[in-house]
């Protein structure tokens, strides 16, 4: 394993120390392991807290700041945070108007946030939970754990964060977050496995001419293994399931996120964006806004995900609202 680490067991804590050193406008609690806006709690403002396993950077700690999250709780690598952490972050941002938890739909995240929400409620903090489950590679079913939460998390955090920043009440912030999730769909492919610092070896072996189709962001294998093919065809592979899952009217505006999983050069992401834009265009979809880059990653996995979110003027307004975080910044 070749990584910039000291003891693999310390990697999350040491990365957080780096975040603290690099971003004076964030406060990092190294003991409780969370990252919070330096000006938290803000009285009367709904707090927005997210978290999940580490290894997806900049998600979530990189999205803490004005206009987006108030706090993030990074768990160990690919391991959801523990309730104590989430509770501490929740208390740190509670300004009396309640706190929204943005939770990616993984059993571990769901349960840990649930336990934390119960503890927070015991302390008199109102909690709303927004569950993100946008990955259409996984079938939606009440019999299973359901879809995973992936790229749409960024959109939920940005848009709900903008509304919270405006002073909207708890129910509205949660509602807009849920709405963004409902309007979003994602699909990912991997060219290589990733290596967690603790395991020290790739999660799976993938022959040189095969790709994993329908992967998540935890280094797991995908729904199927297929032959490597040109960018054009991979673009179709990720776009079609989204167009099938998401009934997009002709001319309807969308936000498109072409996201790198960690080790894919930006040049290749732009090649993919070009191909995907062509496919969406042919389907009558209008790309109103787009993002291309590494936002929701899976350590050093080579691969990409596509997220498409249908939007209206209000969602676009909130998307365009100023944001100032290490990982996403504009207008301020």
């Amino acid at each position: 394993m070749k990584k910039f680490v000291n003891d693999p067991a310390d990697v999350v804590r040491e990365a957080l120390a780096g975040v603290a050193a690099a971003h004076p406008d964030l406060r990092v609690d190294l003991a409780e392991q969370f990252v919070v806006r330096a000006d938290a709690p803000r009285t009367g403002k709904v707090g927005l807290v997210s978290g999940g396993g580490s290894g997806h950077e900049p998600l979530h700690a990189g999205f803490v700041g004005p206009g987006m999250l108030d706090a993030a709780c990074p768990g160990e690598v690919f391991t959801s945070p523990v309730p104590d952490q989430i509770l501490a972050a929740t208390k740190a941002v509670d300004g009396g108007a309640g706190v929204v938890h943005v939770v990616k739909n993984y059993t571990g995240d769901v349960m840990n946030f649930q336990l934390a929400a119960e503890l927070a409620a015991d302390e008199g903090i109102r909690i709303e939970t927004v569950l993100v489950d946008d990955d259409v590679a996984v079938e939606d079913s009440t019999w299973t754990a359901g879809r995973r939460g992936t790229g749409a998390t960024l959109l939920v955090e940005k848009i709900a964060g903008a509304l919270a920043e405006e002073g909207a009440p708890l129910a509205d912030v949660a509602a807009v977050g849920r709405r963004v999730n409902e309007l979003s769909a994602s699909f990912a492919v991997a060219l290589t496995a990733c290596t967690t610092p603790a395991a020290g070896r790739p999660g799976f072996e993938l022959p040189d001419d095969e790709i994993e189709v329908g992967v998540g962001i935890h280094g797991e294998p995908g729904r199927s293994r297929q032959k490597l093919r040109p960018a054009k065809e991979i673009a179709a592979l990720v776009t079609e399931p989204i167009l099938t899952a998401e009934p997009i009217a002709s001319g309807e505006p969308v936000i498109v996120l072409v996201n790198g999983l960690g080790a894919t050069p930006l040049m290749e992401l732009y090649v993919m964006f070009g191909e995907i834009a062509r496919l969406l265009d042919a389907a009558g979809v209008r790309i109103a806004r787009s993002l291309v880059g590494d936002y929701v990653t899976s350590l050093d996995m080579a691969g990409m995900s596509l997220t498409v979110c249908r939007v209206d003027d209000e969602l676009l307004r909130l998307w365009d609202a100023p944001v100032r975080t290490p990982g996403l910044r504009w207008g301020m």
């Binding site: 945070p81 523990v82 059993t107 299973t144 754990a145 799976f204 935890h218 797991e220 294998p221 729904r223």
Partner: protein, 204 residues
């Protein structure tokens, strides 16, 4: 079960987890995210440290302490699940001395939180039959523990042909078939540790 036995059990789990962390992680890498062994090792190392520092006069105290430590140190799916299980067991033992009833409380806690049924390819597939086997033989603690361990191991192996419906492995759909569930494996290990410390003459 007294505090000494409870501590011995937990110590036995901790050392088995340390020995077999790599295997658990490898199983999890196949159908999950490759951290189950790392998670449990981190958790049980913390439990050992916490129990060294804590006053735990009764078995219930030992197990509650174990549970709360797991909840606050493990994270992931297994942290809250095993944490709640041990906490439920400890709380039950504080009420009445029946290990069988404590194990039933543990199963109930796991199912309440995780909503998995037998056949979903999770730790429940080892836990449910183990609890049942223990209850059926509960008049002899040593025999009950051995029966539970055997049932857990059977349940663990029976997860291999299943398609996962809960946890991360469910994302793989049909590709989850043919792999043994890591959580069921760690559950089997927990019952093997129970059987190992429950000698023929240990109290119930």
């Amino acid at each position: 079960m007294d505090a000494v036995l409870a501590r011995a059990w937990v110590a036995g789990i901790a050392s088995a987890v340390r020995d077999r962390a790599d295997e658990l992680t490898r199983l999890d890498a196949a159908i999950g995210d490759g951290d189950h062994g790392v998670n449990l090792r981190r958790g049980f190392d913390a439990v050992v440290a916490a129990l060294e520092a804590a006053e735990t006069p009764a078995a219930g105290d030992v197990l509650v302490k174990t549970g709360t430590t797991l909840v606050s140190k493990v994270g992931g799916a297994s942290g809250p699940l095993y944490g709640s299980a041990f906490r439920a067991m400890g709380k039950a033992l504080r009420q009445e001395s029946s290990v069988a009833r404590a194990l039933e409380a543990a199963l109930e806690a796991v199912q309440k939180l995780g909503k998995a049924a037998p056949g979903d390819k999770t730790m429940v597939d080892a836990l449910a039959p183990a609890v049942e086997a223990y209850s059926a033989a509960s008049d002899d603690a040593a025999r009950a523990a051995r029966a539970a361990a055997a049932a857990a191991a059977d349940g663990m192996r029976a997860t291999i042909p299943l398609q996962a419906r809960k946890g991360r492995a469910s994302y793989l759909g049909a590709r989850s078939v043919g792999h043994q569930d890591p959580g069921a494996t760690s559950t089997a290990l927990i019952f093997a540790a129970l059987a190992a410390v429950t000698g023929p003459d240990s109290g119930r």
